[in-house]
Structure formats: C-alpha cells, structure tokens
C-alpha cells in the first residue's frame, strides 16, 4: 500500500514538475502555432507553408510601402534599355547558414530547378515571363541552357524575359523565388530539408522539426541583413481548426501571435477592453464574389447578371460572416490594385434590379429556372451562399439551391467545370503579387476560376497593359479593362477579406508585408 502511494506521489510530482519547467523556458522565445507545412522546400511551396519558409529563406527583394523594390539578397536590380534584360547584382554579405557564399550559380540552379519538369513545382508559373521558361517547363525544349537565366559572374545574375514584362519586377519579391543550396540538394534529394542538412539564406535556420508536432528555428549567424532581436522561434503544429487552436493558446498565454480568428469569437474580442487592443487587422488585396457560368444560356442576358448583382446586400453579408471585419466590395478587382476602382461598379436599387429582371422576361422572377449556388465548405462561404439564396429569393423572387462541397472536392469540381456546365459558384482570389497583371491577366484571361468570360475588347486591353513599359499608359489600359469587367458583370463582387492578427503587447515591430501579408519575425523584438 505504501509503495503504491509513493508511486502515485512521484507520478504527480513528475507531471507538475514538467509543466513548471516548460513555463520557465519561454523567456526570449517567439512562440506561435502554424499549420503543418506541406513543403519545407521554398521552391515548391505555394500554400501557407510560405509563411514558415519566409523565416528561413529570402528572395532578392521585397516590395516596400511605396510600391518600389527594397533590396534584400540583391544589391541592385537593373532593367536594360531593351525592357527585357534584368541585371541582378547579389549582395555578397548574405551567406548560407554554414557560412559559405551564396553565388549567382546557386540562384541560376534554383530558378532552373523550379522550372525543371521533373521537380513539378507549383510555382514554376511565376517564372513563365522568362525567355523559354514555359517551353522548358512544359518539356518542349529539354536544354536548360536556353532558358533566359544565367550567372554571368560570381555575384551577377542575368535574367531575360521573353517579351517586355513590367510585372516581372513585382515577381522578383515573391517568397518562392529564393535560392536553395545546390550541393546539399543534389546530395540528399528530397531529404535536403531535414534540419541536419538544410542550409538557409534567411534570418533563421532550422534547428529541429518533428512532423505534425513542432518546428524550432534559431538565428542564422551568417545572415547578411540586420541581426534578428528574437533569437529563437518555437512553432507548434496544428491541424484542422487552426484559428481556434491559436486563439485558445493565445488567451492562455502559450503563444505570442495569432494569424486568424474563428468568426464566432470576433465580436467577443472586439468588445474585450484588453484583447481588442491586441487586434491587428490588415485589409487584403483580395476579393470574394459570386460568378456566373458565362457559357450557360441562363446568364446570356446581361440584365439578369446586373439584376442579381444589384440584389445583393453586401453589408448584411460582411456583418453576418465576419462581424463587419471584411469590407463590402462592389467591384471584383480591389481598389488597392492599380486599375481597380469602385466607381466602375454597376449602379441601381433593388427596384432597378426587379425592373431589369422584368425587362429580361421574368417579372417578379416568374418563370426563372431554379439554379444552384456551388461553394466550398470553408471560409464562411456556405453562410454567404445561404444569404445570397435568401436575398435573391426575397428581392427578385428567384429560387436557388446550394451545393456545399468539401474543400478538396470543390477544387476538383472547379477544375472539371472547364468542360462541364454549371450555374453559379462562390469564388475568391488573393493577390499573388502586387501587379494588375495578376488580376486581369492571371485571374480573368487565364480563367483560373472557370468563369468562361470572353470579351475581345477586354482581352486586347489586358494584353496591351501586360507589355506596356510606361506605368502611366499601362494603368490606362487596365482602367479601361476594369470598366468592361464591371459592365459585363461575369462576377458580382461581395467582399474584400481582412486578415485578423492578434499580437501580444510585449511583441514589438511585427509588421504586415506585401499583398501576401507575410510576417518577418526578424523585424520584431520582445519587450
């Protein structure tokens, strides 16, 4: 009996003891919860892994608040008189985390690796402006030396685009376009990202990684930029409901930083006198909308699309979905993107919407066939679908059903809409890089969301804008394109999402960066 008591007591002591020691360790460490990165290889990741990788790897430059490039790993980036030849001089102060120099050959190797069809990188598309890059990536040419990326000196890299491509400047700041250490990648293959092998060029290096459990980083002693004030980052890995896990841990003082909030907690946080001060919202250059299948005869009459667009109460949607933290959007391209302007929005009241529908042959919605609103199951989209269904029914007298699909199944559904007909879908776009080409070109012309909008005048304007070197003239093309996009209304804008961060008061200087809303822990310090 005594022995069992002793055992019980020691077990309790062990339990309590381990908790206390864990608390003591937290001084001087930045703690956060992230999702499990799908790739630790910066040249492969295009999902939220980039936020983890951005602490370890750094691109040539970043876009500053004024829209100009701020140099990081590059000392200078110059565009030649031909408008196609970019000469990039590297800053030799930046070294791999083992102290070896990062040379132009490393950069050439890495960017060609992204394009290598065998690597099958999702981010190859961001290098497609480069001469022969697409052909090499698609396998139509196999000789990598024909690709317009060349190390012309130890620290000079020359990149030639296929044609004049002003948007390439913004892409130079993309977090995926970093170097990887050639020798290590060639020696260890996919396993080069293991902590014992990985070399980084950014402010931190990888110390340990346990899959689906934790990632630990420490300051890279050979980093060429300003030495980080925070020397250690401890990331706990969450799966599933990341926002809820983050907020719980944040409120229990286990982490210093929250990157999103569960929608049901937003109102409580906003009312709380302490927590509301730690709230750090960031309006994103992103949009969500409802789109019509433009090849479906149901939507052939522009007046019907206008009627549906005018019948949406956007304020009601942002209030219901995000407690008013997202911003109601009347146009698809956000105003922060050059070309975007809310002045181009279609104008009219609910009455006007009813009249438009009546003019199109459906007075009070009579005879309008029932249609389907397709949506993914996440991001509050099912609620948006329900509100649209209700608004269209009440305001226009037309009936719809909702088809909610699990996230991955929804993506497969969207891809299969390339050839198959549908009615409407709720969709969104987050800026990849700070340039109108990313919206008018990638989103609309490349038809990534299977909207099937085709308009010769719009396409011609975007093509001109994509290759116009003069920024002022370029803007004019996109401004004109935006007017057509709104007047044709292939999509009806709903809202511009806002990222909601929370940062503990003892963390100073953690800033939002760029259209991807990156964070750079090296800029922050702990009080």
């Amino acid at each position: 009996m005594r022995l069992s008591h002793a055992l019980m007591a020691s077990a309790i002591a062990l339990w309590v003891g381990s908790t206390q020691s864990a608390v003591a360790d937290f001084q001087g460490v930045f703690r956060m919860i992230v999702g499990e990165p799908r790739y630790m290889d910066p040249n492969l990741a295009s999902d939220f892994s980039i936020y983890v990788n951005a602490q370890l790897f750094q691109p040539l430059a970043r876009i500053g608040g004024d829209g100009q490039l701020e140099m990081l790993q590059a000392k200078s980036i110059d565009l030649g008189a031909d408008g196609r030849t970019w000469t990039i001089t590297l800053n030799p102060d930046y070294k791999w985390s083992n102290g070896e120099p990062i040379t132009a050959a490393d950069w050439e190797y890495s960017w060609k690796r992204i394009l290598n069809p065998k690597v099958a990188s999702e981010v190859a598309v961001f290098l497609s402006d480069i001469e022969n890059a697409e052909a090499y990536n698609k396998g139509t040419i196999t000789d990598a030396s024909q690709v317009g990326i060349k190390a012309t000196g130890d620290y000079t890299l020359q990149v030639v685009t296929g044609k004049v491509a002003p948007q390439f400047r913004a892409k130079l700041a993309l977090p995926y376009l970093t170097p990887v250490p050639k020798a290590v990648v060639e020696q260890f293959g996919d396993g080069w990202v293991a902590p014992e092998h990985m070399l980084t060029n950014g402010p931190y290096k990888l110390v340990s990684r346990v899959n689906d459990q934790s990632i630990v980083m420490e300051a890279n002693p050979h980093y060429g930029g300003k030495k980080p004030a925070i020397s250690r980052i401890e990331m706990t890995i969450a799966s599933g409901d990341l926002c809820t896990a983050q907020l719980r841990a944040y409120e229990a003082d286990e982490i210093d930083f929250v990157t999103c909030l569960p929608s049901q907690d937003i109102a409580r946080i906003q009312k709380d006198p302490e927590l509301s001060k730690q709230l750090d919202p960031f309006p994103l250059a992103a949009s969500e909308w409802v789109q019509y299948d433009m090849t479906n005869p149901l939507w052939a009459d522009k007046r019907i699309r206008h009627a549906l667009g005018l019948a949406i109460d956007r304020n009601a949607i942002v209030t219901a979905v995000s407690n008013g933290t997202a911003r109601p959007a009347v146009t698809v391209v956000p105003e922060s993107i050059p070309g975007g302007s809310s002045g181009d929005a279609i104008q009219g009241s609910i009455e006007d919407a009813r009249k438009l529908l009546a003019d199109a042959g459906y007075p009070d919605g009579k005879g309008f066939p029932q249609f389907t609103i397709a949506t993914t199951a996440n991001r509050g989209r099912p609620l948006i679908a329900q509100l649209l269904q209700q608004m269209w029914s009440e305001n226009l007298g037309i009936q719809s059903t909702i088809n909610v699909l699990e996230e991955n199944a929804f993506r497969a559904w969207v891809q299969s809409r390339k050839t198959e007909k549908y009615d409407t879908a709720i969709q969104g776009w987050w800026s990849d890089y700070a340039d109108p080409a990313n919206w008018y070109g990638d989103l609309v012309l490349s038809d990534y969301r299977q909207n099937h909008f085709s308009n010769a005048e719009f396409a011609a304007l975007v093509e001109k804008g994509n290759t116009e070197p003069d920024p002022a003239k370029r803007l004019e093309f996109f401004r004109a394109a935006n007017k057509i996009l709104e007047e044709e209304q292939p999509m009806s804008a709903i809202q511009n999402p806002t990222d909601l961060w929370m940062v503990k008061p003892h963390v100073l200087g953690l800033k939002h960066e760029g259209v991807l809303n990156m964070y750079h822990i090296e800029e922050a310090s702990l009080q």
Binding site: L14, S18, T19, F48, E122, V125, E251, A252, E254, A412
Partner: protein, 312 residues
Amino acid sequence: MLSYFCKRLLAGIPTLLISFTLVFFIAHATPGSPWDSSSNRPLEPAVKARLDAKYHLDDPLYVQYVDYLAGALRGDFGPSFRDRTKSVADIVAQFLPVSLKLGGAAMLLAVLLGLPFGALAALSRHPAVDGAIRVISTLGISMPTYVVTSILIVAFGVGLGWVPTFGWKGLFSASSLVPVFSLALAPLAAVIRCFRTSMLEVMNLDFIRTARAKGLRPMTIIVHHMGRNALIPAVTVVGAYTSYILVGSFFVESIAGIPGFGRYFVLAVAARDYPVIIGTTLIYALFVIVINLIVDLSYYLLDPRVRTEHAR
C-alpha cells in the same frame, strides 16, 4: 484450443483483404486530388500530370490496385503523398506510439476507476452514491468526446491555465491530462455501467450466499467471488473500446493537438493521401482483429465454463 485460435487468425486475412479493397476504391473514388493544395492558384494541368505519372496515379485503377497490393504484401505501403520525404512505414512508426501511449493510459484509467466505481454503485446501500455514479456514467456515455475535450480545454487551459491548451510534450506532462481524461471518459462510463449491472446479477446467486454463510470476509467475497464472475461482461466492453482508443481518437487528437495516429488519418483523408489512408485503415483493422482475439482468449482464462466447453 490452439486450432481454434489458428482458425481465428486465418479468418483475419480475408477481413484485411476486404478492408484493403474497400478503402482503396473508396479513397480513389472520392473527388479531389492529392496534389491540389490549398493555394490560391489551381495546379497547372501539366504539373498534375507529371506528379500523377511519378506516383503511377495515371495507371488504370485495377493496375494500381494490384501494384499496391503486391507492395503491401511485402510490407511496402509506399511514400506519403502529403509529405513526400516520408514513407507510410515512417508515419506509422512516428505517430502510432503516441496514440498507443495516450490510449493505453486512458484505458488504464478507465479500468482502474471503472471497476471500483461500478462495484461501489452496485453494493452501496446509499441511494446518493449509486445516483452520483450513475449520473457520471450517463454523462460519460452521452457526451461526445469532442464536446468533452473542448470544454476541458476551455475550462482548465484557457480559464484556469492549469494545462496547456494545445500540443503534446509526452505522456508524463500536463499536456496529456485533458486528452487522457477525455479519452477515458466514455470507456470509464461503460465499464461502470456494465460492471454495476453484472455485480448486481452475481450478488444474489447461490454461491455468494454460500460464501457468506461460510463466514468469508466481505472483501474476499467481493473481489474473488463476485468480482471475478462479474468481470466477463466488462472485459467485452473494455475490448470493444480498446481497439478504437489505442489507435487514436480523431476528435481528441485533432482538438488537443496530439500528433497521433488518429489526427494523421484525418489529415490524410483531407489531403487525399491514398497510401496513408490505406495503410492506417489496415493497421486499424489489424488492431480490431487482434484485440477481439485477445478478448476471446481472456474469456477462456477467466471463465472455467468456457474452458470446459472447449475441452468437451
């Protein structure tokens, strides 16, 4: 006896094959692709085609089935699609032990508390004791684990700050308190109810009266005579719970951030990680088969009647 268990073991093979076939075709029939990430852009068709080719997903489904089955028979379940630097075997080796420890601790807790509480509820003359234990056991059975886990985390993690809200720092740390208790609650309640009922049944049997009349000590009667006989139904309940608790609870592990087998299974399904889905399902099936066998074996050891039946 030996032939009976050999037969049972052999019967497990078709069960595993059927599980394998079902999960293989259901996984592949589910819409979605392992390569489509949650990034902004859809995957370029050329990239998708190359990845499909690299992992033989462009072969006809029956060819994939035969290839995969041949690999599985050699013990090779292939690479994980979600983390291509790891094989399914690596993943099992990394995540299953966490779930086993957590589930083992939970089952131990359920049995160590369940049997005395069950006995107490049956034997107590005081209606309040029986009532209180019945309330606990009813709550334990009717509250889903995800509710229990969330409530415990919000109360003891966020509210009181006694335990971490998230993550895993080993079994002997505060991080295991909430998940172990949440996991233990349902089997605990079941053991209490089951053991209480069977104790009540045994209580009035003739041999107990004889034992009392012989003047044996009450504790000896309760433990050796009543308890041992009442244990058999409880073993069935424990066995049923053991297989699913040991392999890892989807809900508890996801909510409490335990890097275990159950959570990985959920992630694999969401990511359409076919090899991991198939591998984990087979391990789960194997556990169910083996633990059912162990339960049968325990009847044999606990109940002399079963032994005599087999001897005949």
